[in-house]
């Protein structure tokens, strides 16, 4: 799960990680008020959306008067901000963060992430701050310092020293940096983060460290033990069909094509999308109804696919294991009876209780196209949407 910068900074404050003074505003008037609470100008007005590259997209601006803050907030709130991470459709901005400007001496990069290959937690730091870190990793990998932390022992002072010396920090800055990094690591592990990133982390002319930006992502699997984080969820930042699917515990991702598909199991769902493409069509979604889906889940999944207007044909591919074919068939029939089927549907079923499943579909009177195997199914659905 992703959260906004201002929310991540609230967590930083809780962990005593220095951030600029500031406040969030949903209107130009509120923005001006927030600006006046700060110690003076300049202030920074930052668009709050769940995507990086906001500065380049025109969502981060400097203001030197109350009037300017109000004008900038007016421009930014409600704008459709397009960055390299939002896709061409962009994201509508609902709020801005108004922050005190700082005397910046140097910009650094700092992040904490889990490392799947070594089963450790990695601190990544770089003197190339404020830049796209993936580009830095690609072009100048020597500029990135990596420090691996054993998750059982946790962060030790030497880890901080390795990062600090790797960043060539002067001693007075190190005195602030090292405890800050320890607290960032603690936040990361306390909250089951999948990413905690500060880009840039600035060294001020006063030789302190301040998190100018803040990005935190959370492990969805661990949200059950962080109810406070769930309150940060912003449904406006998510695809409406994906939000609907998440209510029923369905793994759904909206895509650009016109072949809707419903599959049990994530791997088979990906492979089904691939085979649709191979047959010359484009998938409209990824939908894994899961191993243990009930007929209600199947019904909701099918309804969500059919509510997507770009869908011109549907492929249902089920390999019955835990999810039995008869359960799947019942869900499809119920959904069809409730919402009607407005596009051709190709069904391919195999595995547990397949005979019973086929019987239910055949006797339903629904106009379904059956496929003998996966290849046949993909070709039939691709032919339909041509």
């Amino acid at each position: 799960m992703k959260i906004h910068e201002y929310q991540a900074k609230e967590l930083f404050r809780k962990y005593n990680i220095p951030v600029p003074d500031g406040g969030v505003a949903e209107s130009p008037e509120e923005a001006a008020e927030e600006a006046m609470k700060l110690g003076g100008f300049p202030v920074v007005v930052k668009a709050q959306i769940h995507a990086g590259g906001r500065g380049k997209g025109g969502g981060v601006k400097l203001a030197s008067s109350r009037e300017e803050v109000e004008q900038l907030a007016k421009d930014i709130i409600g704008m459709n901000l397009v960055t390299h991470q939002t896709g061409p459709e962009g994201r509508r901005v609902k709020a801005v963060l108004v922050e005190q400007g700082l005397n910046i001496d140097k910009e650094l990069y700092l992040s904490v992430i889990p490392d799947r290959e070594t089963a450790s937690i990695v601190i990544m730091a770089s003197e190339a701050g404020g830049m796209d870190i993936e580009a830095v990793a690609e072009d100048t990998p020597e500029k990135i310092v990596r420090v691996h932390v054993d998750p059982l022992a946790g962060i030790q002072p030497y880890h901080c020293r390795e990062a600090a010396f790797g960043l060539n920090l002067p001693y007075p800055v190190m005195k602030h940096f090292n405890p800050m990094l320890t607290r960032l690591y603690k936040l990361f592990t306390d909250y089951d983060c999948s990413l905690a990133e500060i880009n840039p982390l600035v060294i001020t002319k006063e030789e302190t460290v301040v998190a100018l930006d803040a990005k935190i992502n959370f492990d969805d699997n661990a949200l059950f033990r962080h109810k406070d984080i769930l309150e940060y969820r912003d449904l406006d930042e998510e695809d409406p069909l994906e939000v609907e699917a998440s209510k029923y515990n369905l793994n759904y991702i909206n895509m650009d094509g016109n072949v809707g598909n419903m599959v049990n199991g994530a791997g088979l769902a990906m492979a089904t999308m691939d085979i649709i493409k191979l047959a010359g069509a484009e998938p409209a979604n990824f939908l894994d109804v899961g191993g243990g889906a009930s007929s209600e889940m199947v019904e909701n999944g099918f309804r969500i696919i059919l509510s997507d207007e770009k869908v011109k044909g549907v492929l249902i591919n089920i390999f019955g294991g835990i999810l039995r074919c008869d359960i799947l068939a019942k869900g499809v029939v119920e959904a069809a009876e409730k919402t009607g089927i407005r596009v051709p549907v190709v069904v391919r079923m195999e595995g547990t209780n397949v005979e019973e499943g086929r019987r239910i579909l055949n006797e339903s009177g629904l106009n379904l196209i059956t496929a003998s195997d996966l290849k046949d199914a993909a070709q039939k659905v691709a032919e339909i949407v041509k």
């Binding site: 054993d150 199991g265 088979l268 998938p283 835990i322 996966l374």
Partner: protein
């Protein structure tokens, strides 16, 4: 022969009294798996279809000699259950549970270092040696005993699809292993490939990967240096958009790493026969393995 499990494997089920645990325990027993015990804290002394239930893994091992555990415990308590089995000296732990937090698995993985236990999964369908022992949630009837193919996969139902095609083409399986779709897991592709290479009855290997991480790339390098048996590979996720988690927690493309294209290139480089069309996997295996 087979790898990791056979007819002598003595299975214990953690979470046997749960709905899923109970259902699949019965399925495994019906397939012929030797299920000797169940563990549910607080329900020691009861039995499930004649299988004795114990409060702790240690007592279950002491009383029954169980050497393998299948974990059906809910995600919040699964790491604890796995570590309990490690501590009780269980040789093989098969964790079916989906949705274990990454931080918990980081702990488990480091906890297991130096222990004698092997973990398969989590978030996996399990492992089956057809005709001998089924430890997991896969439909047993699609498998064909006797080999000669060993199957290793990060997926569940996609593996069933692969196995189904193999069986239809008359190619049986020695052992099929689902290593799971999580970013941090136990047994790796390389562990399984190594075991298949050393198993005389396995004469060919199918490896099924997907986007995310670099396990397939590492496996390809291992195959190139160590595996003399023919390997057919399939990678799911060619059409997956970057930055999105495709159902499996581990299936995510980050930046330019973890893509299907990169994995396929590395696997071709390692001498693996790549199947790009899942619908033709059975045919491709029949062709490659007959040479």
């Amino acid at each position: 022969m087979s790898v990791f499990v056979n007819k002598d494997t003595k299975l214990l089920v953690q979470g046997i009294t749960g709905r899923e645990g109970g259902f699949h325990t019965a399925q495994c027993a019906a397939y012929g798996t030797n299920v000797v015990a169940g563990v549910t804290p607080g329900k020691g002394g009861q039995d499930v279809d004649g299988i004795p239930v114990f409060n702790t893994v240690k007592t279950a091992v002491k009383e029954t000699g169980a050497d393998c555990s299948m974990v059906f415990v809910p995600p919040a308590f699964a790491a604890d259950a796995i570590m309990e089995s490690v501590d009780a000296g269980i040789e093989l732990i098969v964790a079916i549970t989906e949705g274990i937090p990454v931080m918990d698995m980081l702990m488990v993985k480091n906890f297991m270092e130096g222990s004698g236990s092997r973990l398969i999964g989590p978030n996996c369908p399990g492992i089956i040696t057809p005709g001998e022992s089924k430890i997991g949630i896969m439909p047993g009837h699609i498998h064909e005993p006797g080999g000669p193919v060993g199957v290793v996969s990060r997926s569940g139902t996609l593996t069933y699809e692969v196995v189904h095609q193999l069986t239809q083409k008359g190619m049986g399986q020695t052992t099929c292993i689902g290593i799971g779709g999580d970013p941090v897991n136990g047994t790796s592709f390389i562990d399984c490939l190594d075991a298949f290479q050393n198993d005389p009855d396995t004469r060919a290997i199918v490896m099924v990967g997907e986007i995310g991480g670099n396990a397939e790339e590492e496996a390809a390098a291992f195959i190139s240096d160590n595996v003399t048996k023919p390997v057919v590979g399939f990678i799911a996720g060619l059409t997956a958009p970057p930055g999105r988690r495709m159902g499996h927690a581990g299936a995510i493309i980050s930046g330019s790493s973890g893509t299907a294209q990169g994995k396929i290139a590395a696997m071709k480089e390692g001498g693996i026969h790549i199947c790009e069309d899942l619908g033709s996997l059975g045919d491709i295996c029949a062709d490659v393995f007959s040479k």
